[in-house]
């Protein structure tokens, strides 16, 4: 996996998943530090998405067509935010469980994104 930024997002997603998973296991509900962690992941994702959009704007295209790629670019910033809202509604350990799932999903999405178009090598 080349590229520090994609790797960073993957690691951030996994760390978020681990952190939220531990909270869930310890029967904690969602709190501000977890939300901040989600926010950090969201910011890094937005940077990555921004760079890919920049490449597209510069005329680059993924080999298999852009539709799937664009789908990923739209979905990736939404997942952490949607998970945060949904998890906040929950007053039990299952709130952080939603965040843990979202962290895993983010890691997978970045891996797939990079497979579709390995264009960010920063």
């Amino acid at each position: 996996m080349s590229g520090v930024l994609p790797t960073t997002v993957i690691v951030a997603g996994l760390v978020l998943a681990g952190y939220a998973g531990v909270m869930s296991a310890r029967d904690r509900r969602m709190d501000v530090p977890l939300l901040i962690a989600v926010g950090v992941v969201e910011v890094i994702v937005l940077v990555l998405v921004g760079l890919v959009v920049g490449k597209l704007a510069g005329g680059g295209r993924p080999a298999g067509g852009s539709a799937t790629l664009i789908g990923y670019l739209i979905a990736m910033p939404i997942v952490p935010v949607a998970a945060a809202f949904w998890g906040l509604l929950e007053r039990t350990r299952w709130g952080p469980a939603v965040i843990a799932a979202a962290g895993l999903v983010m890691a997978v999405l970045v891996v797939r994104l990079h497979q579709i178009w390995p264009v960010i090598h920063v």
Binding site: G65, G71, A75, A83, E90, R91, T92, V98, A101
Partner: protein
């Protein structure tokens, strides 16, 4: 500004209409929503851009998307009628992933491109295989509680 009333927050009762989406249901609905989005979007792209490559596979993919959407919405609503539909939806989903999974392995030519249920959901970490089981178990647990 509303006048201050009783302070206690409205904690969910033991089995109110929306209890399908609280507790473990919170995670269940989240995962279902994810798959509803992923399956529908993927099927949409496949059908829009290369339908002729594998029409059967892509139509099955679209069907899976619809089933996931239905399961997500009914699990989120949680009314008695919604729960009945959810049971049906998750059952269809389970049969679907088993049937399409088997079919995709027995007849790979019909599935040149992976779909959500191909290989029993192997492209998605086999989550499509276990998800309907959890859905049905969750619904049954709530039905017993009521």
């Amino acid at each position: 500004m509303a006048s201050p009333g009783p302070v206690a927050p409205p904690e969910p009762a033991l089995s109110p209409p929306d209890s399908t989406r609280t507790g473990p249901g919170r995670l269940l609905v989240a995962v279902y929503a994810l798959f509803a989005l992923a399956a529908s979007a993927r099927a949409g792209v496949q059908i829009a851009t290369k339908f002729d490559d594998a029409p059967t596979a892509y139509l099955l993919s679209a069907f899976a998307g619809v089933v996931y959407i239905l399961a997500t919405v009914t699990l989120a609503i949680g009314s008695p009628m919604a729960r009945r539909i959810a049971v049906l939806s998750c059952s269809v989903e389970l049969v679907g992933v088993l049937a399409v999974g088997t079919w995709s392995l027995a007849d790979p030519a019909t599935f040149p491109d992976a779909t959500v249920w191909s290989g029993y959901g192997s492209g998605y970490g086999f989550v499509p295989l276990v998800l309907p089981v959890f859905g049905l178990l969750w619904l049954r647990r709530l039905a017993k509680r009521a």
